[in-house]
Amino acid sequence: MAPVLSFTPEGIYCPAGDFHIDPWRPVARAVITHGHADHARPGHGSYLATPQAAPVMRHRLGDIRIDTLAYGATRRIGAATLSLHPAGHLPGSAQVRVEVAGEVWVVSGDYKIEPDGLAEPFEPVPCHAFISECTFGLPVFRWRPQAEVMAAIDAWWAENRAAGRVSILGAYSLGKAQRLLAGIDAGAGPVLTHGAVEATNEVLRAQGYALPGTIRVTPETKPGDHPGALVLAPPAALGTPWARRFGPASAGFASGWMQLRGVRRRRGMDRGFVLSDHADWDGLNTAIRATGAERVFVTHGYTAVFRRWLESQGLDAGIVATEFGGEETEGEVA
């Protein structure tokens, strides 16, 4: 019998249902875990995602044929039964469960174990085979509880306000920025947003996600217009003329990579906050154990090392090669 999922040059493929999951080359039918660019690519014939993920995908990919499937609902596609389950990575993100003739495979997409108050919390899905991301699959990556990190960001912002500085916080415009917005004490001062962040905010607000009010930065925004503001901007905007318009400022960056002193220094930020939308070392191990899977395939990150670790734990482990060899740089993932 053919395996439930196989790995093709286009990406992960289900022969029984004739569809791909997060494919990186154009295919006829694509099931998409979430709207990040390395998962939701343009050019597929049709898309299937959660109703929560669809608006952002439309916003990013334009006029696509997209169908939705609610969390937990099942759909029969050919000989396969498909359902989507919360991945906790960002609002609307899903794990994909595929069952063929009683055998269950789950594709994790990107996921995070700790509930963040905004994304639908991660749910472990029992399966025979689990295809897991392992972006932070080394034991040096262990996160502090979110509340602690948010408190540190609040304190940094307060310190800057007291010193008459603006706080510019770098965060990915889809996911991290909204998580921060929902997690910090947004009432402490004006919160400004870069256009890319605000565009996502608007999409999510329209869906009913509760996000505090923000002020979009426009070409007319002048230094001193919003004293003591916190500015949320994509990482690429930091250190550019766009970021210099605010006058005296302290720059921070929120990412799992900030765990490493070397990366903090390289980024040249005044502050690095260790906050990731991916599972840490303990999270990955917990999630994998919770599935009860005997076979695990890893993708995204330190795949060779993490696979060897899983094998040393008695699991049958393999690697899903992605188009880029799974070697994402810290700029590409959060």
């Binding site: 262990r142 070397g262 990366v263 220094r265 930020m269 005044d270 090392v305 060897r308 740089t329």
Partner: protein, 532 residues
């Protein structure tokens, strides 16, 4: 320790000098006196020697964390720092203790003489009681690897803010051979007795690189020019009947240069000379290449053979103290006159001579002499204003270094390897080759010189164009040409090309050149014949 770990974190993460000074000044005002003294000692490189090898710490940490050793080893290149890797993998602390920095340093000193079995138990016990952020600093202190990016000047500025004492005075007091065990905050920092340490050197006067044309400096007659030697900048101090040699890195290096010991007999008491220590070619009466001097530096004692083959000599630039009087405020011209008079009295066999002054009437004449620097084994010229006092540290205007342009060659990228730490996700370590007939011969490795965007671009290209893998090293298609700049070249039987470069780096990505247009081994050998 928590307070010191926080200071370390601030100094480490902030790029702003003012923020560093402020954080340090705050520590030096608020921390207990013994801790302040230790902080200054550690930040000025006076760290205690290793107590535990980092490999041992790694083994114990893996055991404590319940992780296989190979996994810790695989994590290390991503982090780029073993002490940090260990701090990150250890389980959360069992107790919340906070001992002072001085207490920990005493603990460390007491641990040193004990057997290794006792080391392990003590370290595990210490880790268990320590907050995660303190462990990094603790590990670095244990392994003798504590370093932080603050200059001596920054420390004195902060100390000056904290104490109200002028910075140059403090710089002087902080130099020399002290440890917190042999002095106190009161004695070292606050007391007004400069004579308490005869070995103490003066802060070195440093020069800025000359970027504008030399002619902008004004009348050539206002300036003294001499070779910028490629050796070890040092001070020879003769006080209280003893000779002390200090390197610019503020190391007491007297024992490394027994061949300079006779200076104690040749120089009158109360003399301090600023100069360059060089390995000397007696036959040619000029310096040997820097590599020859380097072979002596790694050794505690120098074998007779090396003493004969690469004898040390001090070429004097300046006279800082004479008959116990500080000459630094005098004009350079006057100091130089006194230096020449002093050295004229020395017998010919003394391993000390004045560094010769260039004779020139115009900047063009001087420029022509500079162009020949490499054949004298010099890096270029030093230009010093005749009226200049001997400043403490780097001051713009009076002293300039007028270095040679680097040598350059166009080379083909052949192998790539990911960087460490902050650059672990990028390919940054490259091996370059030149053509030898139809073959490419690797001749240099380079790690720096490209922008972040260029590193990202070449990284993406390497991933798509890997021909072969040897462990972490990837062989790539020979396609891209880079201009490699370097400061020197010499023969090296250890290298396949027979050549070793000094300070190679990527000066430019030659997108305009095809691989076939890169330089040849013959061209490289021609440079060796000219400058080796």
């Amino acid at each position: 320790m928590r307070r010191f770990a926080r200071l370390f974190d601030t100094l480490d993460r902030t790029t702003r000098t003012n923020a560093k000074v402020a954080a340090l000044a705050e520590y030096l005002t608020g921390a207990p006196e013994e801790d302040r003294l230790w902080a200054i000692a550690l930040l000025s490189g006076r760290r205690p020697r290793r107590v535990v090898a980092s490999a041992r710490l790694r083994d114990w940490a893996a055991e404590r964390a319940g992780l296989p050793l190979w996994l810790v080893e695989e994590s290390y290149p991503v982090v780029g720092d073993l002490a940090e890797t260990i701090a990150l993998i250890l389980p959360p602390p069992l107790r919340g203790e906070d001992r002072s920095l001085a207490e920990w340093m005493d603990w460390l000193a007491a641990l040193r003489p004990q057997p290794e079995a006792a080391h392990k138990a003590a370290v595990l016990e210490a880790w268990d009681g320590m907050a995660a952020q303190d462990r990094l600093v603790f590990n670095k202190l244990l392994t003798g690897g504590f370093r932080v990016g603050v200059s001596a000047g920054l420390v004195t500025r902060a100390l000056s803010q904290a104490t109200g004492i002028e910075a140059p005075k403090l710089a002087h007091r902080l130099m020399g051979d002290w440890t917190p065990a042999t002095t106190s905050w009161d004695r070292l920092i606050l007391s007004e007795d400069p004579a308490d340490d005869l070995s103490r050197p003066y802060p070195f006067c440093l020069a800025h690189p000359l970027e504008d044309p030399a002619a902008d400096l004004g009348a050539p007659g206002d300036w003294l020019a001499e070779w910028k030697w490629d050796g070890i900048r040092g001070q020879a101090i003769r006080r209280g009947g003893e000779l002390y040699l200090w390197s610019r890195g503020e190391d007491l290096i007297t024992p490394r240069f027994p061949d300079l010991a006779p200076l104690a007999d040749f120089l009158p008491d109360g003399t301090v000379i600023d100069g360059e220590i060089l390995a000397w070619d007696r036959a040619a009466d000029r310096p040997l290449a820097f590599a020859r001097l380097q072979t002596r530096l790694g050794r505690k004692t120098v074998p007779k053979k090396l003493l004969a083959e690469a004898p040390a000599r001090l070429l004097a630039y300046d006279l800082l103290e004479q008959e116990g009087t500080d000459l630094r405020p005098l004009p350079l011209e006057e100091r130089r006159l006194r230096l020449d008079r002093l050295l004229q009295q020395l017998p010919a066999e003394a391993p000390l001579a004045a560094s010769p002054l260039m004779e020139f009437g115009t900047w063009d004449e001087l420029g022509a002499q500079r162009a020949a620097a490499r054949s004298h084994h010099a890096e270029g010229l030093m230009l010093k204003h005749r009226a200049s006092p001997y400043h403490a540290g780097r001051r713009r205007g009076d002293w300039w270094k007028w270095k040679l342009e680097p040598l350059r060659i166009d080379a083909v990228l052949l192998y790539a390897q990911a960087g460490h730490g902050r650059r672990a996700t990028l390919f940054t370590d490259f091996t370059f080759a030149v053509w030898d007939g139809p073959e490419l011969v690797p001749f240099a490795k380079a790690y720096s010189g490209l922008t972040d965007a260029e590193f990202a671009e070449i990284t993406a290209w390497v991933r798509r164009n890997t021909r072969d893998r040897f462990g972490p090293v990837r062989q790539v298609a020979p396609q891209h040409v880079f201009e490699i700049a370097f400061e020197g070249i010499r023969e090296s039987p250890r290298h396949k090309s027979g050549i070793a470069l000094r300070f190679p780096r990527m000066a430019r990505w030659r997108r305009d050149k095809a691989a076939a247009e890169a330089s040849t081994l013959t061209e490289l050998r021609a440079l060796l014949d000219l400058y080796g």
